[in-house]
C-alpha cells in the first residue's frame, strides 16, 4: 500500500524539539518541593539478610524517609507475572517467581534493592546510603547454568526443589525418524552469552500525588505506559482513572523498558503518596548494569540430520536458558528462540526442548532481538558446518532448503510467544538471498578476490546468512484520530515511542487517508490520559499493530468526512476527493470545503445532531492481527582479521530485507542501522562478564564496550524487497529487531572463513580479540 506520503522518506516531525534541547525526558521533569530517591542494592549475588539498620540514614539531615521491605507492610508483594506461560503446550512446566520490590529474606542477584532513601537532594540520598548497615550472610551463589541444575546446587528460590524455572518440549514431525533416514548427522554445542540493552538514557521515574484532586501522575521511561498505569493503580488501590502515566521522550528502550512494575516503578509512586511530595528517581549507569534486565545467555546442544545432497531432514535442539534470579517475563525469550530455530528453511522435522534456569544474576527479559538472534545463530552456524561436512557451497545449501514462495502461509507446528501456532504469513526468500549475494559480489569474492588476498597473506572472510523475524504480534493496539477546527489532525495512541519515528510514520498513514500535509498531523503517544487502551512498543510491533489501528481510525474519520461533505456540497460521496486539507468535488475543484469548516459543522453548538450521528470528525479504532507477520532478510559481510592481534575489521556489510510495505524508508533504514550496530556489539564487543561469585566485572561503559563510530563499517548497504503481509491492511511487517538478529551468525561465519587456514570452528558469540586468540590456541 503506497500513497502520497506512505513509502516516502519523510523528515521526522519530532526532530526540531530534539535538536534544540527542548524535548522533555523524564530526568528533565522538575517540580517544586520534589524529593529524590536513591536505592541501596545488594553487594552480594546471593546472601541472606540478617538485619538492616537504617537509623543513621534516617537521622542524616535532609533525609525524609528510608524504607525497607518491612516498612512496606502489605504493599510489599511480588510484581505481576507480565507474560504467563502458554497453556496450549503439552507438558509445560513453569514456576513463576516474579520480581520483588525490595529484598525481604535474601538477595538473589547483585543489585537487588534492599532499601530506598528519599531525601531533599539526590546527593544527600546517596550519602545516606552509606549510613545503612546491612548484616549479610553470604550464601554460595549459582552462576553457571549447568551447575544450577545439579542436584546439590544451592537454590535461588528455597521453596522450589531445584533451580529449574521451566521446561518446554515441542516437536514438529518426528526428528528421530528423520535422523534414522539421514546420510549425515552433525552435533555441536553452541553458546550465546549475556549482553546489555544499554540505552543511552538510564531508567527513571517521577511520581506526583495531588491529594486535592486525588490524582497520581507518573513520568516513566517505559515502553508500555498503559500496563504500567494499570499495575500502579492495582498496587496502590487506586482507580485506573486516578493514575496518569506519561512516557515522554524516551532515550532508547531496546526491551528492558517494557518491564513493568520494577521495584523503582512501584516504590517511587508509593512513597510519593505516602510522603505527599513529588519524588524523582533517575538510575545511574552502574545501576543500569546491575539493576536493569539483560538477555541472551543460552547453551544449545544441537543436532542436524541431512541427506548427502544437503537437504535438511530435521533439527534437534536442546537448550538451557538463563533467566537470572526471577522470571517475570515468562517464556517469551526462549519461545522466540524455538520459533527461530529453523530460520528461513523448510525443515520438516524439529525437536526443540528447553529448560529455563534460575541463577543468581540479573533478571532476563527481552532485549532487541529477544531470543531470535540465538535461534538464528544456532541454525545458521549448523548450516555452515553442514556445508563444510558435505563439501557444499554455503549459499547452495541455503538455497536448497529455503521455504519456497508457494508454501506460504507456512506452518511451523509449534507454539510461539503469542501462544498460537507459529505460521510464517508470507515471504519470498530466495530473491532476498540472491539480492544480498549480488550486492556483495559473492561469486567474484569467492573465486577471485579471496584467493588473491589470501595469496598476499591477508585473512579476509565472507559471511552469508539468512534470517526471519517474527514481528507485529497481538493482542492489539488502538488509536483515536480527530480533525480539529483548525483543520489540523491529532492522533493519539497507547504505545510509547523510544525513537522509532512513530510521530512521523503514523502521521504519514493519516495524511494519506485524509488528504492533509504530514506536517499538519500531530501524534501523541505514551500518555494514558490521552488514550488508555493498548499494550506497548515491543516485538517490532509499533508500525504493524499500532500503525494499522491508526489507519483504521483514520479510515473511520474519512468516512465521516465524506458523509458530511456529501450533504454540504450536495454531491455523492463517490464524486468527492480529499486533497490539501479540503474536500472537493472531483471534477469541480472550486466546489470545496475545508476540513476545519467541516469539523466545526460536525460539532455544532446549537441545533440538532441527526440521530445515529456521533459528533466531531473523530474516530477510534483498534487493530489486532490474526497472528504475527514474519519479515525476512539476508546479510552478507566481509571481514578482515589481523592474525597478530585477532582484531576484526568489517570491510563491507550488506543487508537485503523484506518487511512488507515500507512506511518510511528513512525510518526503516534507521531501524536497520541501529539493529546492525547492536548486532555488531553482540558479535565482538558486548559481553557481560560475571565472575564465580556472581559479581558483574564490567558494570561501566568503560569496561562494557558499546560499538563506537570507529567500529562501524564504512557503509551499510541496504536493499528493500517488499512482500506485503496479507494479515493487515497496510501490508507491513516489523523491522525493529531485524538488524540485531542476523549479525552474530554472519560475523562468526566471516571470521571463521577468514581464519580458514587455522581450522578454527566458532560455536559461540560474542567473540573478542582475546577469545578468538583462545580459540586458535586451543586448536594448537
Amino acid at each position: 500500500m503506497k500513497g502520497k506520503w506512505i513509502g516516502q522518506p519523510i523528515k521526522r516531525n519530532e526532530d526540531p524539539r530534539l535538536l534544540t534541547g527542548q524535548a522533555l525526558y523524564v530526568d528533565d521533569v522538575d517540580m517544586p518541593g520534589m524529593l529524590h530517591a536513591a536505592f541501596l542494592r545488594s553487594d552480594y549475588a546471593h546472601a541472606r539478610i540478617r538485619s538492616i539498620d537504617v537509623s543513621a540514614a534516617r537521622a542524616r539531615p535532609g533525609v525524609v524517609a528510608v524504607y525497607t521491605a518491612e516498612d512496606m507492610a502489605d504493599f510489599w508483594r511480588p510484581g505481576p507475572l507480565i507474560v504467563p506461560p502458554p497453556r496450549n503446550v503439552e507438558g509445560i512446566v513453569f514456576h513463576a517467581r516474579t520480581q520483588i520490590p525490595m529484598v525481604k529474606d535474601k538477595a538473589r542477584h547483585i543489585g537487588d534493592p534492599i532499601a530506598v532513601v528519599i531525601a531533599e537532594s539526590r546527593y544527600i540520598a546517596e550519602d545516606a546510603l552509606e549510613d545503612i548497615v546491612v548484616d549479610y550472610e553470604p550464601l554460595e551463589p549459582v552462576v553457571d547454568m549447568e551447575r544450577a541444575l545439579e542436584p546439590d546446587a544451592p537454590l535461588v528460590h528455597d521453596d522450589l526443589d531445584s533451580n529449574l524455572a521451566a521446561h518446554v518440549v515441542q516437536e514438529k514431525g518426528n526428528y528421530e525418524a528423520a535422523r534414522a533416514k539421514a546420510d549425515v548427522v552433525i552435533k555441536r554445542r553452541i553458546l550465546v552469552d549475556r549482553g546489555a540493552a544499554a540505552a543511552l538514557e538510564n531508567r527513571g521515574v517521577v511520581a506526583h500525588w495531588e491529594p486535592k484532586s486525588q490524582q497520581l501522575t507518573v513520568w516513566d521511561t517505559t515502553q508500555a505506559p498503559i500496563p504500567i498505569r494499570n499495575g500502579i493503580a492495582a498496587m496502590l488501590g487506586l482507580s485506573e482513572h486516578q493514575v496518569r502515566v506519561i512516557a515522554p521522550f524516551i532515550g532508547g528502550g531496546f526491551g528492558p523498558k517494557i518491564m513493568m512494575s520494577q521495584p523503582e516503578e512501584v516504590l517511587v509512586p508509593w512513597a510519593a503518596m505516602k510522603l505527599n511530595r513529588p519524588i524523582k528517581w533517575i538510575e545511574d549507569r552502574r545501576e543500569n548494569f546491575i539493576g536493569t534486565t539483560q538477555e541472551r545467555a543460552q547453551i544449545h546442544d544441537v543436532e542436524m540430520a541431512l541427506t548427502r545432497d544437503g537437504r535438511v531432514l530435521g533439527v534437534r535442539d536442546v537448550f538451557l536458558h538463563d533467566t537470572g534470579a526471577y522470571d517475570p517475563y515468562g517464556l517469551t525469550v526462549p519461545l522466540n528462540t524455538q520459533s527461530h530455530g529453523l530460520g528461513a528453511y523448510d525443515i520438516p522435522n524439529y525437536y526443540t526442548e528447553f529448560k529455563v534456569v534460575f541463577t543468581n544474576k540479573m533478571i532476563v527479559t527481552p532485549v532487541r532481538g529477544a531470543g531470535r538472534p540465538q535461534g538464528i545463530f544456532v541454525i545458521e552456524r549448523m548450516m555452515d558446518l553442514a556445508a563444510k561436512e558435505l563439501g557444499m557451497d554455503r549459499a547452495e545449501i541455503r538455497k536448497r532448503n529455503l521455504i519456497p514462495p508457494d508454501a506460504f502461509p507456512y506452518r511451523q507446528e509449534i507454539i510461539d510467544q503469542a501462544f498460537i501456532e507459529l505460521v510464517y504469513d508470507s515471504g519470498n526468500y530466495l530473491p532476498v538471498l540472491e539480492k544480498a549475494m549480488a550486492m556483495i559480489g559473492y561469486d567474484r569474492f569467492i573465486e577471485e578476490e579471496q584467493p588473491r588476498l589470501r595469496a598476499e597473506g591477508r585473512h579476509v572472510g565472507l559471511g552469508l546468512v539468512t534470517f526471519v523475524e517474527t514481528t507485529g504480534v497481538g493482542p492489539y493496539e488502538g488509536a483515536r484520530v480527530s480533525v480539529e477546527s483548525s483543520g489540523k489532525v491529532s492522533v493519539v495512541t497507547g504505545v510509547g515511542t523510544q525513537g522509532q519515528g512513530h510521530f512521523t510514520s503514523f502521521a504519514q498513514i493519516v495524511a494519506d487517508q485524509l488528504g492533509v500535509d504530514v506536517r499538519d498531523v500531530r501524534v501523541v503517544t505514551g500518555d494514558t490520559a490521552q488514550f488508555h487502551w493498548g499494550t506497548g512498543t515491543f516485538a517490532s510491533r509499533g508500525a504493524v499493530v499500532a500503525g494499522n489501528a491508526v489507519k483504521a481510525a483514520a479510515a473511520g474519520v474519512r468516512a465521516k468526512i465524506l458523509k458530511l461533505a456529501s450533504k454540504v456540497l450536495e454531491t455523492p460521496e463517490e464524486e468527492l476527493e480529499l486533497v490539501d486539507g479540503q474536500v472537493r468535488v472531483a471534477d469541480i475543484p472550486e466546489r470545496s470545503i475545508s476540513l476545519g469548516e467541516l469539523a466545526v459543522m460536525a460539532n455544532p453548538l446549537r441545533g440538532a445532531v441527526e440521530p445515529g450521528t456521533k459528533p466531531g470528525l473523530e474516530a477510534t479504532d483498534y487493530f489486532g492481527p490474526q497472528y504475527g507477520a514474519t519479515a525476512s532478510g539476508a546479510v552478507a559481510m566481509i571481514v578482515e582479521v589481523d592474525p597478530e592481534t585477532m582484531m576484526v575489521e568489517i570491510k563491507r556489510f550488506v543487508i537485503a530485507h523484506d518487511c512488507g510495505t515500507v512506511l518510511n524508508p528513512m525510518i526503516v533504514e534507521g531501524q536497520i542501522h541501529g539493529g546492525v550496530s547492536m548486532g555488531i556489539g553482540n558479535s565482538f564487543y558486548e559481553r557481560l562478564v560475571y565472575d564465580d561469585n556472581g559479581q558483574l566485572l564490567n558494570a561501566s561503559l568503560m569496561d562494557y564496550l558499546l560499538p563506537r563510530s570507529t567500529d562501524m563499517p564504512r557503509r551499510i548497504e541496504i536493499a528493500h524487497l517488499e512482500t506485503p503481509s496479507p494479515l493487515n491492511p497496510i501490508g507491513s511487517k516489523g523491522v525493529g529487531e531485524a538488524g540485531a538478529i542476523p549479525v552474530p551468525s554472519a560475523f562468526a561465519q566471516a571470521v571463521e572463513d577468514a581464519l580458514a587456514d587455522y581450522g578454527v570452528e566458532i560455536l559461540e558469540t560474542p567473540l573478542s580479540p582475546n577469545r578468538l586468540f583462545e580459540l586458535l590456541s586451543a586448536r594448537g
Binding site: A38, L40, D43, R122, Y123, E126, D127, L129, E130, D284, R285, R286, E644, T645, M647, E649, Y685, V689, L697, N698, M702, D703, L705, P707, R708, T710, D711, S768, P769, N770, F773, E774, S777
Partner: protein, 297 residues
C-alpha cells in the same frame, strides 16, 4: 563497602594564586588534599568512592604551566596544564616528537582529551597510561614543585607501584620535559584495545630506535610497555638484545620474546594474562620492525 554514585562526594575546591601557596597547602593537609589538573581520573575515582579527599586543589595554569616550548638546544617542555589535544596539534611536537602525539591520540575521546594532560597521565601512574611509554622512551623528566623548591624527577625512577609515584605531599608536577631526541631516530606507540579506538589498553608498546655507533649492533632501542605490569615497564633485556646483536628479523623476534618474558600481566575483562604476553611479543616485534625500517641506513 563503598557505593559508587553519580554524584561527587563533598569536598572543598581550593584554588591558590601561586605554586608556593599550593605546595604549602597540600603539605599542610597531607592525606586529605589532592592536586588536580583536568580531573579525568580524579573525579572518576572520587565517584567510585576510592578517593575521599577533603580538599581538591586546582593547580591548573599556575606560574606558566600552560605552555609548550621547544628549544633547539635543550628540547621540549610541556606544561602540566597543556591538554592532550594541544599536544596532538602542536607543530613542535609533530616535527620533533611525533610519538607523543601518536600516543596521546589513543587516549579516550577528543572531549576527554580537552581535559586530559600528559603530566596528569604520568602522575596518575596507571599501568595502562597511554602516554607514559612515549614519555619514557623519550627520556622524559618531570619538573616538580615541592615545599623545598623545584626539582627534577627522571621518569625512569618515578613509578613505584600501581598509581604510586615518588611524589610526596606538597609536590606539584609542573611540566614534563624531553631532551633533544637522538639524531636519526624514529619511534612508535602501538596500542591494542578491544575496539578500534576508545578502550583502555590491553597492551601498549612504545618503541624508539636510533643509530648509535657505540652499540655493537649500530643501533639502540628504548622500549616501554603499558598494561602488562604493576608499573609502566621498560624491558631492559629486550633493549640489550637490540643493542648487542645485528638487527635482523630473528634478533627483533628474540627481543620481542624477551619483552614478553619481562611482563607480569593480570587477567581482566579486556584480556587474559596469556593473551597480553603474546600481544606484547607481537606488537613489540611490529613496533621495532617499523622503527627499524625507518632508521636503518
Amino acid at each position: 563497602m563503598h557505593t559508587p554514585t553519580p554524584g561527587l562526594p563533598e569536598f572543598d575546591y581550593v584554588k591558590l594564586t601561586s605554586l608556593a601557596a599550593a605546595s604549602q597547602f597540600l603539605a599542610e593537609h597531607a592525606g586529605e588534599a589532592r592536586p588536580f589538573m583536568g580531573g579525568t581520573d580524579v573525579f572518576v575515582r572520587m565517584r567510585d568512592g576510592f578517593w575521599k579527599e577533603k580538599y581538591i586543589v586546582d593547580v591548573k595554569g599556575l606560574d606558566g604551566m600552560d605552555e609548550i616550548t621547544f628549544d633547539p638546544a635543550t628540547g621540549l617542555t610541556i606544561g602540566a596544564s597543556v591538554n592532550m589535544n594541544r599536544v596532538i596539534a602542536s607543530p613542535e611536537v609533530n616535527q620533533h616528537y611525533p610519538v607523543l602525539a601518536e600516543a596521546a591520540h589513543t587516549v579516550a575521546s577528543y572531549q576527554l582529551r580537552t581535559r586530559a594532560t600528559i603530566v596528569g597521565n604520568v602522575c596518575n601512574a596507571s599501568p595502562a597510561g597511554d602516554t607514559i611509554g612515549a614519555c619514557l622512551v623519550l627520556n622524559g623528566t618531570l619538573r616538580v614543585h615541592g615545599v623545598d623548591g623545584v626539582r627534577e624527577e627522571p621518569l625512569s625512577t618515578f613509578f613505584v607501584g600501581p598509581g604510586q609515584t615518588v611524589l610526596k605531599p606538597g609536590d606539584i608536577a609542573t611540566a614534563v620535559s624531553f631532551p633533544l631526541p637522538p639524531e636519526g631516530y624514529a619511534a612508535r606507540y602501538i596500542k591494542l584495545g578491544r575496539n578500534a579506538i576508545g578502550d583502555l589498553a590491553i597492551v601498549g608498546v612504545a618503541a624508539l630506535g636510533y643509530p648509535d655507533s657505540s652499540a655493537p649492533s649500530g643501533y639502540r632501542f628504548r622500549l616501554a610497555l603499558a598494561s602488562v605490569a604493576p608499573v609502566p615497564l621498560v624491558p631492559t633485556q629486550a633493549e640489550a638484545i637490540l643493542a648487542e646483536k645485528p638487527i635482523t628479523e630473528a634478533t627483533i623476534a628474540e627481543a620481542a620474546r624477551a619483552a614478553m618474558d619481562a611482563c607480569t600481566p593480570i587477567d581482566d575483562v579486556r584480556g587474559s594474562a596469556r593473551y597480553r604476553k603474546l600481544m606484547v611479543r607481537n606488537l613489540t616485534r611490529k613496533a621495532v620492525t617499523e622503527v627499524w625500517e625507518r632508521i636503518k641506513g
